[in-house]
Symmetry: C2
DNA sequence: CTGCCATACTAAAACGTTTCCGGAAAGCGC
DNA sequence: GCGCTTTCCGGAAACGTTTTAGTATGGCAG
């Protein structure tokens, strides 16, 4: 006999009253509640989560699914840890705990999520790295698990998502380069099926056409989202017949490899070629010359994610009247020296 | 009525038998088991974790506590994601799931852990970033929760830990520098209370003395474990009356700031000053000149952590006969150009 | 005094699972 | 036919909690 029962016996009170006192129910004498809380503190009682979950059908846990594939490990750096800070700050206000669920890299993310959902270990989910077609979304919709996807997807009807403002970034980067006289602008896009690649390239294309520049598919270089990918992108770019005068990198990490390849070819970024990176990493700062890129607050993104998620959960929605809206997350231009190269006098 | 009861009714069999069939108990007819498994697959039945945990007193979940403080976010980069891969590969063999528990940065890690332990949400824990004196360890020992600490600590008697081979790294770095004629070797150590700082500096001191070089406290520069800290370290170093000819950095990230400060002073690493970094980050590669540092496999470390943890858990110990040993994790020297500066002819 | 309501509590059911205990049926040696 | 073991299964208790329904008490209006 342990747990609440022991506490009740110690107070010579029924367990029902103890439970109600601890959970802030109204029908309990205020003095009794004081005694119960004091005794709980003294004996170090904390409700067993399994018992409570079983009874309530709720776990007070929010899952954040991340993929720990080799590629993710090498690229995402502190992204999730950063977002986590913002998530926590909101969730903890509601006594919700955050659970990071790293999908093993030898397991299908869909199967992993399915198992986690079936076990009823979380009340709601945040999924990341959404694919263009993502079965996980259909699964969550069908299982009626509240969730928010970090990244748009065409799956699952109108689910809730938050995504970075690829259109804005692409437009800003293209505008900036065109204003410096560039007309042959390459883009290094990820070669996997992640949705942002498609969205970004579409936006890039539209921005070009807005300036009356024809879209040239040979300027879209598909490589891995890594340092090696950046090197590869540089390599491919140098082999083109009509070389671009500017390049946009979707993952900033690519800049490292690109710089190396350019260095081998005696090309100096910012002097002979304009380079713009996408998401700023703190690590990118010390490239020479410094990289022009786009900046965002990971923490604020985490807050937005948490608030959007809570708005989709019936038990918490009342506190978030703005509702479960889809959000395009803006990024701010952080000018550096790498795009100083201008074709204008 | 849902769950196993429904499954039992569908099969026209008692729930006890269904449970035993699913859990691989011996006393169930092989043909019956087949039927049960088939039906479970068909109906998509997965045992409710709360019910099962409540009954068994076990959750099949291993917690990995990480801190999401601002400093950690900026420094740990992909460390945990990398380790996670190795952890998963071992844990999944035992049908154990990994749960990352990020401690909110406005909450005391001790209180956070205490709550998680009391809720009985994990069967065992891995804690990281251990302090020299770490109350969390006492807590886990007292609560009899199996755990492994990533990092030595003086708390909690003889608990199980794994730590990086600071002594080996310090000795190797000092030996290497001394062999090139250096005798004034600085070290940039973290200013917080994390244990590795003390251990590393101790080992550095002993290595110096082994070479008959007197330990000079002014050469131990305590700074933040960040890029800024590296800049600061460079700054402090340049203000010394008798300047060092070599410097060892405990966090590689410091190298970035250090390089910048050196650059401002017109000092070229590898030509005018020997620099050695500690733990290799993939990002460190593209410093110019390339950084001499120490390398390790994050994945292998994860495997070691998982195996050590399982050895401390009675239910799994039999598979890990080596037992719960303390491990000093070796790192391998990755030579670069930054320590080419030699005082010998 | 009766009826009624509000307050504060108790008792018991329920959540979904695992596991203990007992027992039926079948096989086998005598 | 009897006693024994083995194999397989059903019934029921137990895990710790929340919540529903019910009850005693006292105050108060009529």
């Amino acid at each position: 006999m342990r747990g609440i029962r022991q506490l009740a016996k110690h107070l010579d009170i029924s367990i029902g009253t103890v439970s109600r006192a601890l959970n802030g129910r109204p029908d309990v004498n205020e003095e009794t509640r004081k005694r119960v809380l004091a005794a709980a503190e003294e004996l170090g009682y904390v409700a067993n989560q399994s018992g409570r979950s079983l009874r309530q059908g709720t776990t007070n846990v929010i899952g954040l699914m991340i993929e720990s594939s080799k590629e993710t490990v090498e690229n995402s750096d502190n992204f999730f840890l950063g977002v986590t800070g913002g998530l926590q700050s909101v969730l903890s206000r509601h006594k919700l705990d955050l659970l990071m669920l790293p999908c093993p890299n030898d397991e299908d993310p869909y199967e992993y999520l399915k198992r986690m959902v079936a076990r009823r270990i979380v009340d709601a989910m945040i999924i990341s790295a959404t694919q263009r077609v993502d079965k996980r979304i259909d699964l969550l919709v069908k299982a009626k698990i509240p969730f928010v996807a970090l990244g748009r997807s065409t799956s699952g009807g109108n689910h809730t998502w938050i995504d970075l403002d690829f259109e804005g970034v692409a437009a800003c980067a293209v505008d900036r380069l065109v204003s410096k006289g560039h007309r042959r602008i390459a883009v290094a896009a990820p070669s996997n099926d992640i949705n942002l690649g498609y969205i970004f390239v579409d936006a890039y294309r539209q921005s070009l056409e807005r300036h009356g520049i024809a879209y040239d598919p040979s300027l879209v270089i598909r490589v891995k989202s890594s340092e090696q990918g950046g090197y590869q992108a540089g390599h491919e770019m140098l082999r083109l017949d009509r070389k671009p005068t500017a390049i946009i990198l979707i993952y900033e990490l690519m800049a490292i490899g690109l710089y190396r390849r350019l260095n081998e070819a005696g090309i100096v970024p910012g002097r002979d070629l304009a380079v713009i990176g996408f998401r700023e990493e703190p690590r990118g700062k010390f490239l020479q010359p410094s990289l022009t890129c786009f900046r965002m607050s990971l923490r604020d993104l985490g807050v937005e994610l948490a608030e959007t998620l809570l708005a989709t959960m019936p038990a918490y929605a009342e506190h978030y009247p703005k509702g479960a809206r889809n959000t395009i997350w803006p990024l701010e231009l952080a000018p550096g020296e790498s795009d100083a190269f201008s074709l204008k006098a």
